[in-house]
């Protein structure tokens, strides 16, 4: 089935079995293997990408559902020699051990910070009608869809905090 998806700024024409998830299209068809397959059931967050600027689990979406969409993967966030600030922050704060969850953590963090900037609430938001204050509890709650089995959570929080420009 013919589908065109703009990936990291480049329109990519694909011809796919409808069963192909967005994750598999990225990894297997487009060979963009930065996005990781963890659980393949939306529980771990390793496959998180940005679709039209919004973070989603690419494993729980069919590629054909994204005809015309703009997808950003970790390869589009930054590259070696031209790292995005959040990628540099993960290095500076030592925010990973094995690194398998890191592309998903970074894409999720970018989407999460955009949600905070748009004043979207979370379950840690006590005042639903006021501005969001990104406390550490807020930050951790908003990142709960991304697990890190090496348990680098304190450093992940520090890295995201560093690029957020927001006080705790």
């Amino acid at each position: 089935m013919k589908t065109t998806i703009t990936v990291n700024g480049e329109a990519r024409a694909l011809d796919l079995d409808p069963r192909t998830t967005l994750l598999d299209a990225l990894r297997e068809t487009l060979r963009l293997t930065g996005t990781k397959k963890g659980c393949d059931h939306g529980q771990c967050g390793a496959c998180t990408v940005l679709v039209n600027g919004t973070r989603i689990n690419s494993c729980l979406s069919l590629a054909v559902m994204h005809d015309g969409d703009a997808v950003t993967t970790i390869e589009g966030v930054g590259q070696v020699g031209a790292l995005a600030p959040i990628q540099q922050a993960f290095l500076t704060e030592d925010a990973f051990q094995c690194g398998y969850c890191t592309p998903g953590q970074i894409c999720s963090a970018l989407g999460m910070l955009a949600e905070v900037a748009a004043n979207q609430p979370s379950q840690e938001t006590t005042d639903l009608t006021g501005p969001i204050r990104l406390t550490d509890d807020e930050l951790r709650e908003r990142m709960s869809g991304n697990i890190c089995r090496c348990s680098a959570y304190p450093q992940i929080v520090a890295a995201i905090r560093a690029v957020s420009g927001l006080p705790a």
Binding site: M1, D17, P18, R19, T21, D40, H41, G42, G45, T48, T54, R55, I56, N57, L60, S61, L62, V64, M65, D67, S108, G111, M112, E115, A118, N119, Q120, P121, S122, Q123, T125, L128, T129, R140, E141, R142, M143, S144, G145, N146
Partner: protein, 316 residues
């Protein structure tokens, strides 16, 4: 996944028409629950009708002071809407208590209502489950039933409905709007959407085949406070063990029945001047439990009075 064909519906009318004409067709919107189940071959549609881009995703004020929420509005969009946050805070609180940020960005209002149970026997295709395979039996009855129902269960099924959002909508007296394959639009109380399991737990709603939920309509908010409280095994991104939505004098309970459970006996007791402790005791008098989920009765006995007090301005 089993092979299937895919189409993107051009209109709401075309979607229901296609659903009526195509054997074993399913609507897909966000896909977060359906695709998960298709990977496990628990759901095996032959045809998917993508309704995710239909122009029924907006949230608009109604003439009587309520809100109409389009069925394709994402959970994130609804939770963040300033009118929902200020007038229906129980709905925002319930939505953000469910799933993860990534899931809420895809999951839709209509799809959230129609998600399937998280009962382990429904998911494990090596085990009996009357919901997944009618007539095969219920593994949960004598098995790992810690998260099973305490209201309205049958000998065929003790699964629970997993939605948080639906519990708030039930307390808010929401109305469901649909379009049927014959082109007929209808609306009915959310209390009439889901079925209790009875002998046919595989039939979960009163929707007719091919009928599409198009909107949820909220009446003006009831007088009094609102709150959603959820108890679960970890602090975030976990299905509930028990939850309660309070909206004025309305009470709905989550994760304790095959459908969001409107606690009418407790409401009646409260209306007659009973204390919240007495009120929830009246509701729990008809609760039943299996070998491992009796603790849910104690959870509700403690949770509901706290939530009612919190909704009325007391301490959490």
């Amino acid at each position: 996944m089993r092979p299937f064909t895919y189409e993107r519906a051009a209109s709401v009318e075309a979607a229901v028409k296609s659903a009526a004409q195509t054997p074993n067709a399913k609507f897909i919107a966000g896909g977060t629950n359906l695709l998960d189940l298709m990977k496990l071959e628990i759901e095996t549609p032959a045809h998917l009708i993508d309704v995710g881009r239909l122009p029924i995703a907006g949230i608009e004020d109604t003439a009587d002071g309520g809100l109409r929420i389009g069925a394709m509005a994402t959970n994130s969009h609804v939770a963040a809407d300033v009118r929902v946050r200020s007038r229906y805070p129980v709905l925002t609180q319930a939505i953000v208590a469910g799933g993860s940020g990534q899931l809420r960005n895809k999951a839709t209002t209509g799809g959230n209502l129609l998600q399937r149970t998280r009962c382990a026997y429904f998911y494990d295709t090596s085990k009996p489950c009357n919901k997944r395979q009618p007539g095969s039996g219920c593994g949960a009855l004598e098995g790992l039933n810690r998260n099973s129902a305490i209201f309205g269960a049958s000998h065929a099924c003790i699964a629970t409905h997993p939605s948080d959002m639906a519990v708030a909508l039930t307390a808010l007296d929401a109305t469901v709007e649909t379009l049927s394959p014959s082109g007929q639009a209808r609306s009915f109380s959310i209390l009439e959407l889901h079925r209790l399991p009875g002998e046919t737990p595989d039939v979960e709603t009163h929707l007719i085949p091919g009928e599409l939920i198009t909107a949820i309509v909220l009446p003006p908010p009831p007088a009094g406070g609102q709150v959603y409280r959820k108890v679960r095994d970890r602090a975030s991104y976990a299905a509930g063990l028990a939850s309660v939505a309070v909206a004025g004098g309305n009470l709905a309970l989550g994760s304790v029945a095959h459908k969001p459970w409107r606690a009418e006996k407790a409401e009646a007791a409260l209306a007659l001047g009973s204390s919240p402790v007495e009120a929830i005791a009246a509701e729990l008098a008809e609760a039943t439990h299996s070998s491992r989920n009796g603790f849910k009765i104690d959870l509700l006995r403690r949770l509901v009075p706290v939530a009612v007090a919190q909704a009325n301005g007391g301490e959490a």
